[in-house]
Symmetry: C2
Subunit: 175 residues, 2 copies
DNA sequence: CCCTAATTTCTCTTTTTACTGAAATGTCTG
DNA sequence: CAGACATTTCAGTAAAAAGAGAAATTAGGG
C-alpha cells in the first residue's frame, strides 16, 4: 500500500515525505512522529524534517491528543485543499522564479548586440510567462467548488465560450 | 543570460538540458552539438545525451544544413507548442503514474481490514485523480489559440459560467 | 570497401541530495 | 527548578544523479 509513496519521487518531493503523507492520509487516527518512524522504518530525525516540510506545505497539521504530551499529526483530508496547496507551492518554486529570471533577462533588451530575432523571442517569452502567471494566480483564488464545475465541464467550456463570444476563431486574438 | 538555465533545476530537468534549450531558443541559427559543447563548456557526450532528452520531449529538432554533414539543432519557437510539450511530459511523468498507483491501491478496496474511513478516502482520492486526469487530457487536446482565449479571460470564465448556468452555487454540484 | 568525421555508449569521477545517529535544545510535570 | 520525555539541529555517511572522457559504433565520401 505504501508503494504509493514511491510515486512521490516524480513529484519533486523525496520518498520519505511522500510516504509520510500517504501514511497519514490513510491512517485511522493522528500519529506521532515515533509511530511514523516505526511504521516506515526510517530515522526519527528524518521524520522530524519531513514533517516540517509537510507542515510548510500545509499538507498535514499538528493535532493535540488529550492526555498525550507528544505531537500528533494528521493529513489534510480535503482533496481540493490539498491540490491547492500543491499548486501554490509549485507556483512559488517553479513559475515565480521563471518569471523573475525572464524579467531579469529583459533588462538588457536594448543591448544592440541582441538581434531582432532574439529580442522578439525574449519579448514573446516574457509575455507568455506573465500571462500564464497571472492566470495561475487567478485560478488559485477561485473557490474550489467553482473550479470543480469548470473541470467537470472539461473542454465543453471551450464550446460554451465560442457560443457566448459568438465567434469560432482559430487564431490567437489580436488584442 | 544563460543563468536562465540554472532555473531549470527547479523543473526536474538538469542544468545541462535547460541550458542547451535556452541557448538554442536564443540562438540566431541552428547549432551543432560541438557548437553547444564549446559555448557552454560542457562535455560533448553530455551534450549528446541532453539533446536526446530534448528531442524526446520534442522541445528541439534536428535540421539539416546544406553542405554540412553534422547534425544541427534548433529550438521549438512556438511557445504554445513548447508549453504543450512540457505539459504532456508532465502528465506522463507525474499524473499517469499517480492514477495507476491509486488504481492499484483500489484493487484491495474490499479487504475487510480496511476501515470505512480509509476506504472512503481512497475512493475520494481515486475520483479526484481520475477527474483531474481526464480534464488535463481534454485541455491538451484543445487548440492553443482557444486555450489562450480561456487564459486571457482568467477568472472571468467563472462568472461567465455562473451566468450561463443561471446559478451561483458554492458547493460542488451533486451529479 | 576503407578511411575519416560525427555521434553515441559506457565506465568512472564528481557533485548533489537524502538519510542516519548522536548531541543539543526545548518543554511539561512534579 | 530538576528530571524525564519529546523534538530539533547538526555533522558525517550513504545513495542517487549529473557529467567527463575514452572507447565503440555509425554514416558519408572516395
Amino acid at each position: 500500500m505504501l508503494r504509493w509513496g514511491d510515486m512521490g519521487t516524480q513529484w519533486g518531493v523525496n520518498r520519505s515525505v511522500a510516504q509520510i503523507q500517504a501514511l497519514l492520509f490513510l491512517s485511522e487516527r493522528p500519529l506521532t512522529a515515533e509511530d511514523i518512524a516505526a511504521k516506515l522504518g526510517i530515522a526519527r530525525s528524518n521524520v522530524s524534517n519531513s514533517l516540517k516540510e509537510l507542515l510548510a506545505w500545509k499538507l498535514i497539521q499538528r493535532v493535540p491528543v488529550l492526555g498525550d504530551r507528544r505531537d500528533h499529526y494528521e493529513a489534510e483530508a480535503d482533496l481540493w485543499q490539498m491540490a491547492t496547496k500543491v499548486a501554490q507551492g509549485r507556483k512559488a518554486r517553479e513559475i515565480d522564479p521563471m518569471v523573475a529570471a525572464i524579467a531579469a533577462a529583459m533588462e538588457n533588451i536594448d543591448d544592440p548586440q541582441i538581434s531582432a530575432k532574439v529580442r522578439q523571442r525574449l519579448v514573446a517569452m516574457h509575455d507568455f510567462v506573465s500571462t500564464v502567471d497571472r492566470w495561475y494566480q487567478q485560478m488559485l483564488d477561485v473557490p474550489p467548488a467553482q473550479i470543480m464545475t469548470l473541470i467537470r465541464m472539461g473542454s465543453r467550456v471551450v464550446s460554451l465560450l465560442r457560443f457566448v463570444t459568438g465567434k469560432g476563431r482559430d487564431k490567437a486574438d489580436p488584442d
